[in-house]
């Protein structure tokens, strides 16, 4: 009984997103779906939710086969999804958004009074009644995610798929989510919880299914496997001290070569400053949406003029062109939006900056592609023929071939398999070791711990609500400390010791 998948597959052209996935979930069970980026978990969720059509396989709920032709059909069967990208409409109010899938009627007409009452009830459960009447565009990130959840709850799901909402939530919100899931469990609802935050998975889920490369590798009761074991299964190789501590900091003095005295963090209207040393890798951590991206983009000139001193010379950057002229580079994790030129071929993609912007005679595209370990057939191929990891390598190659002094990276390894990720880490470390610096945002705390241990001088800056809440160096760089600094209010979720949060700018 409950929810069953058999032999589920989905491919996009040459790329296989989900391959022969199998799952069985009982009613009232909270199942975690754990997988690295690109493992197929989001695609699986979207197939259940009716957004994507499966190629083969079958889905059974309570013994009946289900195949939704649209999200509307899925909702009719009470299969509800929250979306990682949020399905809210910024121009509508909170109550309109919450009730939009099934607006209360009086005859044929909209019953606004009941709509408000329904929304109020949902918000009260989350202690967010004060959001009533506001337009979604006025809300903060964590509030929007909670409204997204309220929208899902109001539809009285029998199967609820939660796709990565917790990375933007504050401590109190996470506790609220915990209570809500327990209530749903008691009602017999099936909850699929997709997240990479282990602490929450252990706290809220009964069992876990591991996915890798589109396949479901196995299902285990949550408490039976340790974190290391789960991670090893996820990644495919034995993980050792993946979340180890930062290495002993040598007594090397930081050779500061870039100073930015004043960075305005957009959205929070706070001001920060930064000093970057040669050979440094600076990780930027914290809950999603707390100003990390704004900080990095500001340095690239995206939000108006920024004054800085590079190698002793004062300069001003107010757009990307000037940033590039000053030896900066920017790599984003959202390849499709910020990185790849989809219809163009590899040669054009990889030489874009060097040839067009810097006007330098390029090394042959082939040589470049080989230098960055890209797996390809020929440089005339469209870039979309490559796997995600290889596409990102092309983008990275595009930038590294310009020998930047400062590499700004916003979650550059998002959606990439572990092997490619490690390759990229090595490339960044090499760049740093050559006397340059790397500023990297990541929502994966372990990744930051790992990459900062690859060079001699490194730091992790944790941001919270637009301000730097902690600067961790050396041994202090650990997942626990990053986590604690990300949500500096109140007690930790499960008995972790408090971490040092000394601030040194």
């Amino acid at each position: 009984m409950g929810l069953v998948f058999r032999d589920l597959s989905k491919r996009y052209g040459a790329v296989v997103a989900v391959k022969q996935a199998q799952m069985e979930i009982e009613k009232g069970e909270v199942r975690a779906i754990l997988g690295g980026n690109g493992s197929g978990k989001s695609t699986l969720a979207k197939i259940i939710g009716g957004l994507i059509q499966k190629d083969t396989g079958e889905i059974l709920f309570n013994g009946e086969p289900i195949d939704f032709g649209s999200p509307k059909a899925a909702k009719r069967h009470r299969v509800i999804m929250t979306s990682q990208e949020l399905s809210l409409f910024s121009n509508l109010t909170v109550e309109e958004n919450i009730c939009i899938c099934d607006m209360p009627l009086k005859g044929k007409f909209l019953n606004r009074k009941e709509m408000k009452a329904k929304a109020y009830q949902a918000l009260r459960r989350m202690r967010l009644e004060n959001l009533m009447g506001k337009k979604v565009e006025e809300l903060a990130a964590n509030q929007q995610y909670m409204v997204e959840l309220a929208k899902a709850l109001v539809q009285e799901p029998e199967i609820l798929v939660i796709d990565e909402i917790t990375s933007a939530l504050y401590r109190e919100d996470v506790e609220t989510v915990d209570h809500i899931i327990r209530e749903l469990k008691d009602k017999g609802c099936i909850v699929l919880f997709i997240s990479h935050r282990m602490v929450e998975l252990y706290a809220m889920c009964d069992s876990v299914t591991i996915m890798r490369n589109g396949e479901t590798l196995g299902t285990y009761p949550m408490q039976e496997k340790s974190e290391d074991e789960l991670l090893s299964l996820m990644v495919g190789t034995k993980i050792e001290t993946y979340h180890g501590k930062g290495k002993q900091q040598k007594d090397t003095k930081r050779d500061i070569f870039i100073r930015i005295p004043r960075i305005v963090i957009r959205g929070y209207n706070t001001v920060e400053s930064l000093e970057v040393g040669r050979g440094e890798i600076i990780g930027i951590a914290g809950l999603q949406g707390h100003g990390q991206t704004e900080l990095i983009r500001a340095l690239y000139g995206a939000f108006g003029s920024v004054e800085m001193e590079i190698d002793g010379k004062k300069c001003r950057i107010h757009n990307a062109r000037q940033a590039v002229a000053n030896g900066f580079a920017f790599i984003s994790g959202d390849r499709e939006r910020d990185g790849t030129f989809q219809e163009r071929n590899l040669a054009e993609n990889i030489t874009a900056v060097q040839y067009l912007v810097k006007r330098k005679k390029t090394d042959s595209p082939q040589a470049l592609l080989d230098e960055y370990n890209v797996r390809y057939d020929n440089p005339g191929q469209p870039i979309t023929a490559l796997s995600g990891g290889n596409q990102q390598k092309v983008v990275v190659g595009r930038w590294l071939s310009t020998r930047p002094r400062l590499l700004l990276a916003d979650d550059p390894t998002k959606g990439i398999d572990v092997k490619a990720r490690t390759d990229l880490h090595h490339l960044f470390a090499e760049l740093a070791k050559a006397g340059n610096a790397v500023l990297m945002i990541s929502s994966d705390d372990d990744e930051l711990v790992s990459i900062t241990s690859m060079v001699e001088t490194s730091r992790v800056i944790v941001m919270y609500e637009g301000k730097v809440s902690a600067v961790l160096e050396g041994e202090a760089i650990s997942r626990e400390n990053i986590s604690a600094a990300s949500m500096p209010i109140a007690k930790p979720l499960s008995g972790q010791t408090g971490a040092q949060t000394g601030r040194t700018v």
């Binding site: 409409f89 121009n91 509508l92």
Partner: protein
């Protein structure tokens, strides 16, 4: 104070203000705003308001329709031709209205069901509909029985002028739409089509409806124009497509969809109409008039877009401050 602030930040407020101001200016120039002025003003410009209502509905779902002017021409031509052939005025009007609805449904089909880009679709259908109109009536001419004009000049219940009733029909329909879930869905769709689909909104159906409604609006506009002139012209509506869009933009409707309302379209159209009326009464040659009208559109649209775009406003403020500092 809060109430005043919220009225001032209402999307359609600037256009309402502009309309009232220029109404006053017009009154000043022509020496008074009499009842007969209002009657003739509404009679002449009801069509523009109807088209503005129709186009606003399409702009709200980010599916701007530029074929409405051609539909108006088509309706006018059909009425005149049928009347010349001996049909009763009422029959001619109803058949023409049916044609307008059909045109709207064709747009709705190509855009909603075949998923072709709305601007390009309506550009193509605009050519097609205008072509049909030209084919049926190659040269301006023909006439409709003046009883039609009399009916248009009369008032419902002795109080409400017919032109206002015509507009009222559209407002009634739209009022119903705003009070059923579809009304909210329209704004959601205009903001983000993918999210709308994910929320279970019937995207295809809504788009089809909106363009059919716009066709109806153009049809009613065609009736108004035909009754006002009692004559036929195959190009009578040719400038209405652009003018109505400009009216909507001036009325605070965003071309990106999801922002603004029908009232904006109405006030924008009223404002443009009064402006054109002033230009006409200034007795300039028709040559100058064309240029001025084109410029009015350009300036009106540019200003409205700047006013709505906060980033741009900041940039311009900075620019002006810098210049001011240098002087």
């Amino acid at each position: 104070m809060n109430k005043v602030k919220s009225i001032m930040s209402w999307n359609a407020f600037p256009s309402l203000l502009l309309f009232l101001v220029f109404l006053g200016i017009n009154g000043f120039i022509t020496g008074g705003l009499s009842l007969s002025f209002f009657k003739s003003f509404t009679a002449t410009n009801a069509a523009a308001v109807c088209v503005a209502i129709g186009v606003t509905a399409t702009i709200l779902v980010a599916g701007t329709d530029i074929s409405l002017g051609s539909i108006v021409s088509l309706v006018n031509v059909v009425i005149v031709t049928l009347c010349q052939k001996g049909y009763a005025v009422l029959a001619a009007v109803l058949i023409a209205l049916g044609c307008a609805l059909l045109c709207g449904m064709i747009n709705g089909f190509i855009i909603g069901i075949m998923r072709v880009n709305p601007l390009l679709t309506t550009f193509a259908t605009s050519t097609a509909f205008a072509g049909i109109a030209l084919w049926i009536l190659p040269y301006p001419g023909g006439s409709i029985d003046f009883s039609f004009g009399d009916w248009y000049g009369s008032s419902l219940f002795g109080m409400i002028p017919m032109p206002i009733v015509m507009i009222g029909i559209l407002l009634l329909i739209w009022g119903i739409v705003r009070n059923v879930p579809a009304g909210t869905h329209i704004y959601a769709l205009g903001r983000d089509i993918k999210k709308a689909y994910a929320s279970g909104i019937n995207v295809t159906g809504l788009r089809f409806f909106v363009h059919t409604f716009a066709g109806l609006a153009a049809g009613i506009a065609g009736i108004c124009i035909s009754a006002n002139t009692c004559a036929g012209s195959p190009t009578v509506g040719s400038s209405m497509s652009m003018n109505s869009i400009a009216a909507a933009v001036i009325g605070g409707v965003s071309l990106n969809g999801g922002t603004g309302g029908i009232s904006g379209g109405i006030f924008g159209a009223a404002f443009l109409s009064i402006l054109i009326s002033i230009v006409v009464s200034a007795n300039l040659s028709s040559v100058v008039q064309s240029l001025i009208q084109g410029l009015i559109l350009l300036v009106g649209v540019v200003f409205s877009i700047i006013a709505a775009d906060k980033e741009l406003k900041q940039k311009i403020k900075h620019l002006l401050k810098a210049r001011g500092g240098m002087i």
